[in-house]
């Protein structure tokens, strides 16, 4: 404050009062201008808010238009698409578009992934939330964050180059592309998601519940498994649903490690093709842009979109309900 020195004199008060009252009496900034700017900004904000709706609209529009062209084709019938387990858009005398072969592959990989990610993720979450000393947390948290941040193509490489050879070494029946290897990698990928969402849910349980249980002489295990987990159950379920959605939509790992043979099998040693895997195959093959097989990519994408949307929507609604219950 440059004026600070001169103000040391006892006469400052009158001076400053006069000056400031002059300033304050002056005309204010134009409210109209401020209002106008405010409106413009508000409109911009609303526009960006609506942009996300536009994206959803565009996704549905694009997928629906092409899916309609797909079903218009003579080679395709609804009954075949939803009723057959033979997915064979590219080869053979009669093309067959039985989406169940792809859904089956997707489910197989997802099931393997979830049998790893869900229990491990949940237990790790319980450990982090209820048991872990600060020191362990400080190690485990970043480890999980790093695992979550690794690009999926790296997991694909890991599956193909490390997991598959190990599986083949353990058991001769594994083919080089197989569902198990891809599933394990997807499971590792989803583990941090499950863990952090489930931990959020556990943390949201009020302290009072825990203290009440401890006060009754419960062990940590009793508290976590009999009190906290049931209390956070809906949050945990939503974490599971979101993780399943993520596994269903995972692309690069299955494109690299699961294979390209669409078959309805539940043998994890076999190669399978998932919905996303098929889309990658179509995209990197650049099939002529007008054939039925090209539109089949959109029909598959639409099916995939609906599936993941249903999973995330339910997951998010459950999650929101759960959070509201405790906030």
């Amino acid at each position: 404050m440059s004026s600070a020195d001169s103000l040391a004199t006892p006469t400052w008060r009158g001076d400053l009062d006069d000056r400031v009252s002059k300033y304050l009496g002056r005309s204010q900034r134009s409210l109209k201008l401020v209002r106008g700017r405010e409106t413009v900004i508000y409109v911009i904000l609303i526009a960006s808010g609506l942009f996300s709706l536009l994206i959803t609209g565009a996704i549905i529009y694009v997928l629906a238009i092409e899916t309609v062209s797909f079903f218009k084709s003579d080679e395709v019938t609804f009954a075949n698409f939803f009723g057959s387990t033979t997915w064979n858009p590219l080869l053979g005398g009669t093309k067959s578009f039985g989406i169940w072969a792809l859904i089956c592959g997707t489910m197989l990989v997802t099931a393997i992934a979830m049998s790893i990610a869900l229990p491990l993720g949940l237990i790790t979450a319980i450990y982090l939330s209820e048991y872990a000393p600060r020191r362990v947390r400080n190690v485990l948290k970043p480890v999980l964050e790093v695992l979550a941040g690794v690009p999926t193509v790296v997991y694909g490489f890991f599956a193909l180059m490390t997991i598959t050879p190990i599986l083949q070494w353990l058991h001769g029946g594994f083919s080089v592309y197989n569902a198990a290897s891809a599933g394990i990698a997807v499971g590792i990928l989803c583990l941090p998601t499950v863990c952090s969402l489930a931990e959020d849910a556990l943390q949201a349980v009020p302290r009072g519940l825990r203290e009440g249980a401890y006060g009754l002489g419960a062990t940590r295990f009793d508290v976590s498994v009999k009190v906290v987990v049931p209390a956070a159950l809906s949050g945990i379920i939503s974490a599971f649903l979101l993780a399943i959605a993520r596994a269903v939509g995972e692309t690069m790992i299955v494109a690299l490690a699961a294979g390209s043979l669409a078959q309805a099998t539940f043998d994890p040693r076999q190669q399978v093709q998932t919905m996303t895997g098929f889309m990658v195959q179509m995209a990197s093959g650049d099939v002529s842009n007008y054939g039925t097989e090209y539109y089949s990519m959109y029909a598959v994408a639409f099916t995939l979109f609906i599936m993941t949307l249903a999973l995330t929507m339910v997951g998010n609604i459950v999650r929101r309900r759960f959070r509201e219950a405790y906030e």
Binding site: M1, S3, R13, R19, Y23
Partner: protein, 287 residues
């Protein structure tokens, strides 16, 4: 005014001050202004709701200009709600709505067309907890003037210094205006917030339990400040602390369950309340 905290001071803060001293002070001040009390805010038949819950029932109240009006009552009695309607802070709560009339001079405070931004410049507010922005002390005080006025740098410095002096915190902060406001003590922060409110030149200053988060020494400092400020501003203070109301207000309004039970000169309300509920409350039977 920031004397070292001594036991004596604390005791003084807790014990009601001698009524006489206050009284003379008041008298003195009234004599000084020596004009009839004018009306600042007029509330008529105000009903207010949060969603379906009715928080205020048919409140009619006059807030005199250049006086300190205290709103007292137990928790949830609606006193803060009323205060927040004065400068429409309740607009930030989506479910809040009100019917009735609140006027500041000619301005209808509840009207949709009232410019709340301008309104809040004219009616400043100080909150329960000091809430300085995570900026420097100078920037905190300069925040309002920068929004509302075109001032040169030196003019802005004048305003900041003036406001800080008014809020009786200048001497403590003048050497560290550039340091973060969050480094100040609670009492200093609250006085800084008062300075921040003053710096835009409001007509009315609303204070929502301004001392409830402060230690006794800081409370004392803020109370002194309130008393000092009433010469220039109409002050409405919400308080839980009846001694505080008694110490520094001219008029007291007692609320209970959303209704205005009694209003009158502070001395009257505290010594000869007309209503039984008021008496029970001021004598500590409930609350």
């Amino acid at each position: 005014m920031s004397d070292p905290t001594t036991l004596a001071n604390e005791a003084a803060a807790i014990e009601p001050r001698p009524r006489d001293g206050r009284q003379t002070h008041f008298t003195h001040s009234r004599e000084q202004t020596s004009e009839p009390t004018t009306l600042a805010i007029r509330v008529r038949d105000l009903n207010a709701w949060y969603g379906d819950f009715q928080a205020l029932h048919a409140i009619s109240l006059d807030i005199p200009a250049n006086r300190v009006s205290a709103l007292i009552g137990p928790s949830g009695c609606g006193k803060s709600t009323l205060l927040r309607w004065f400068n429409r802070m309740n607009d930030t709560i989506p479910s809040a709505h009100a019917r009735g009339s609140v006027n500041l001079g000619d301005t209808d405070l509840l009207s949709r067309t009232t410019d709340v931004v301008d309104l809040r410049r004219r009616i400043g507010i100080v909150f329960q907890r000091p809430n300085p922005f995570p900026k420097s002390i100078f920037d905190n005080v300069a925040f309002g003037p920068r929004l509302h006025m075109k001032l040169s740098r030196t003019e802005l410095q004048d305003v900041v210094e003036w406001a800080l002096r008014k809020a009786a915190v200048w001497d403590e902060v003048k050497d560290r205006l550039a340091s973060p406001a969050l480094g100040l003590s609670g009492g200093q922060q609250q006085r800084l917030c008062i300075a921040r409110a003053i710096a835009v030149g409001p007509e009315v200053l609303l204070m929502d339990e301004p001392c409830s988060a402060l230690d006794p020494a800081s409370t004392l400092a803020v109370e002194d400040l309130i008393f000092e400020l009433r010469r220039q501003y109409t002050i409405v203070i919400v308080t839980h602390n009846m001694q505080q109301a008694a110490r520094c207000s001219d008029q007291t309004a007692f609320f209970y369950e959303g209704r205005l039970i009694e209003v009158g000169a502070t001395t009257t309300v505290f010594t000869k309340p007309k209503q039984q509920q008021t008496e029970d409350y001021v004598s500590g039977k409930f609350g």
